[in-house]
């Protein structure tokens, strides 16, 4: 599974990093999110799915 955060959609709600802290990093300056790596390690898949499902802006793409 791969993950990407759409920078046009992300508004920095930070829920993704709360739910999957190893998979998402928040920018220090504006709090917007990006994926730590595109490839999601198997043991993080569930958290990353849950993060995608919780993003209020639906900015997290799984592919």
């Amino acid at each position: 599974m791969k993950v990407r955060v759409d920078p046009e959609r992300c508004q920095g709600h930070t829920l993704c990093a709360m739910i999957a802290p190893k998979a998402f990093q928040l920018d220090d300056i504006d709090g917007h999110s990006s994926a730590v790596g595109e490839e999601v390690p198997a043991d993080q898949e569930e958290q990353v799915r849950e993060a995608a499902h919780s993003c209020p802006e639906r900015a997290i793409q799984l592919f």
């Binding site: 709600h13 504006d30 849950e50 209020p56």
Partner: protein, 454 residues
């Protein structure tokens, strides 16, 4: 079809909707589910006529359609005369632009860029030791007595003190801002007390203006300093505009966080089993519980917009100039997204709530709000775990048109021991820490945490 006929067709879902009445608060769940079932976007003739979006999908699509929506509040009639985010708008004499919340990009974006380095998750985390000291002192003031009013003695104090610290305004001034920030929200327009509240608000405005002048003259780090140096549309904004932004930061930060905390503490008192569970399992439960309280109580129930161009969104045609109410509170109860929407589930998953808004105006203070809320609640769970709220003394806001808030939430508990100095003394110590460590610098300049003695 005639024009009037076409209009009737567009507005075929008509409802009577007035969120400024006590009935709306009392019957919130019935009204919400009725709207969801029949017309997730409806037209109402109240307050000069406006659309009401209550469905989750509808609110989501509308809120994010920045190219067709405007937040502009054109107080001086220089642009298209739009009325900003309040429905109905206040009387002309009291109209004031509500900072960048009542602006459109690019100006609004420039303000956010200037303030983000003070309010990002990393920036806010630096303040945790500071917040903990204020919380500790608030609880110390009451812990020997065994009684506290969670609103007056805790939830009003901590957000106010932290906001002032971040602004770079002296902490001891928090009382100047506290009453107007809350009273201007809960006082109904026709109340005999309104004249006094307006005077308090004007006093707060003057005080903010003085801080602006002072910090421009004698620079001191903080949000005020950021605004003094901000370039918006490539120029320095007027002082009037900056005071509007400062009032937005105070207004945005005080009453909402208080409202969230009071409602959560009241709910936990009513559900002692869940309270114990939250305390025990806080490492895994506190984040999701916080989001669930945000969803369920939605302290800021909604905001207005003006349609800025004819468009069709979520299957509804809109015309330029029409007013629209985006109900974050009702979107948060949509069963299509939230199973069992009218119950609090502290471990709710997929909680895509809209309590901080959606899209470009998403609450810039959300990290402050979450942090302050969590530190207050965990301290209460640790120090006065058996508190019981007194329903007879509890006062909710009469209506939830602006903020779903509380004026009083008294509680009793088994008395405990003080841990440190009084609130006044603590604020003096913390003021020194602010000044010496320049705590209110942006995260770009001061990445480290606040150090508090004791």
């Amino acid at each position: 079809m005639s024009e009037a006929g076409a209009d009737d067709d567009r507005k075929k879902h008509r409802v009577h909707f007035d969120r400024h009445t006590p009935e709306y608060r009392d019957q919130f769940e019935e009204i919400t589910h009725d709207l969801h079932a029949k017309c997730p976007i409806a037209w109402t003739d109240t307050h000069g006529g406006h659309w009401v979006a209550s469905g989750n999908r509808e609110v989501f699509e509308l809120a994010r359609a920045a190219e067709f929506l405007s937040n502009d509040h054109d107080v001086k009639g220089e642009r298209r005369g739009y009325k900003g985010i309040t429905i109905p708008s206040p009387p002309r004499s009291r109209e004031q632009q509500g900072g960048f919340l009542e602006m459109d990009p690019p100006g609004q974006r420039h303000y956010r860029q200037a303030l983000n380095p003070y309010l990002s998750p990393a920036a806010v985390a630096r303040w945790i030791p500071f917040v903990d000291e204020v919380v500790r002192a608030c609880l110390d003031e009451k812990i020997e007595e065994g009684r506290i009013d969670f609103v007056d003695d805790l939830a009003n104090v901590v957000p106010a003190v932290l906001t002032l610290a971040m602004l770079g305004i002296p902490l001891k001034d928090w009382t100047v801002y506290n009453e107007p920030a809350h009273a201007s929200v809960y006082t109904p327009p026709h109340s005999p007390d309104m004249a006094r509240v307006l005077e308090l608000s004007r006093n707060m405005g003057r005080s903010l203006y003085r801080s602006l002048l002072e910090i421009r003259e004698h620079p001191r780090p903080g949000l005020v300093d950021a605004l003094v140096h901000a370039e918006i549309h490539g120029r320095r904004p007027s002082d009037e505009e900056l005071v509007g932004v400062l009032a937005l930061l105070v207004g945005g930060g005080f009453d909402t966080t208080t409202a969230l905390t009071a409602h959560a503490l009241e709910w936990l008192s009513q559900h002692p089993g869940e309270r114990d569970r939250l305390s025990r399992e806080r490492d895994t439960l506190l984040d999701s519980a916080t989001e669930e309280f945000l969803r369920f109580f939605t302290p800021a129930p909604g905001d207005g917009r003006t349609i800025s161009a004819d468009c069709e969104i979520a299957g509804q045609r809109f015309e330029e100039g029409e007013r629209l109410w985006l109900s974050w509170a009702m979107a948060n109860r949509d069963p299509a997204v939230f199973p069992d929407p009218d119950r609090v589930h502290l471990d709710r998953k997929g909680n895509r709530h809209s309590s901080f808004g959606l899209g470009i105006h998403r609450c810039i203070g959300s990290n402050v709000a979450r942090t302050v809320f969590k530190r207050m609640v965990t301290a209460v769970l640790d120090r006065i775990p058996d508190y019981r709220c007194d329903p007879d003394g509890t006062v909710h806001y009469e209506t939830i048109g602006v903020i779903q808030g509380m004026r009083h939430l008294p509680a009793a508990f088994t008395p405990g021991r003080r841990l440190g100095p009084s609130l006044d003394e603590t604020l003096e110590t913390l003021q020194k820490a602010c000044d010496e460590q320049r705590l209110a610098e942006p995260v770009t300049t001061r990445p480290g945490r606040a150090k508090t003695e004791r």
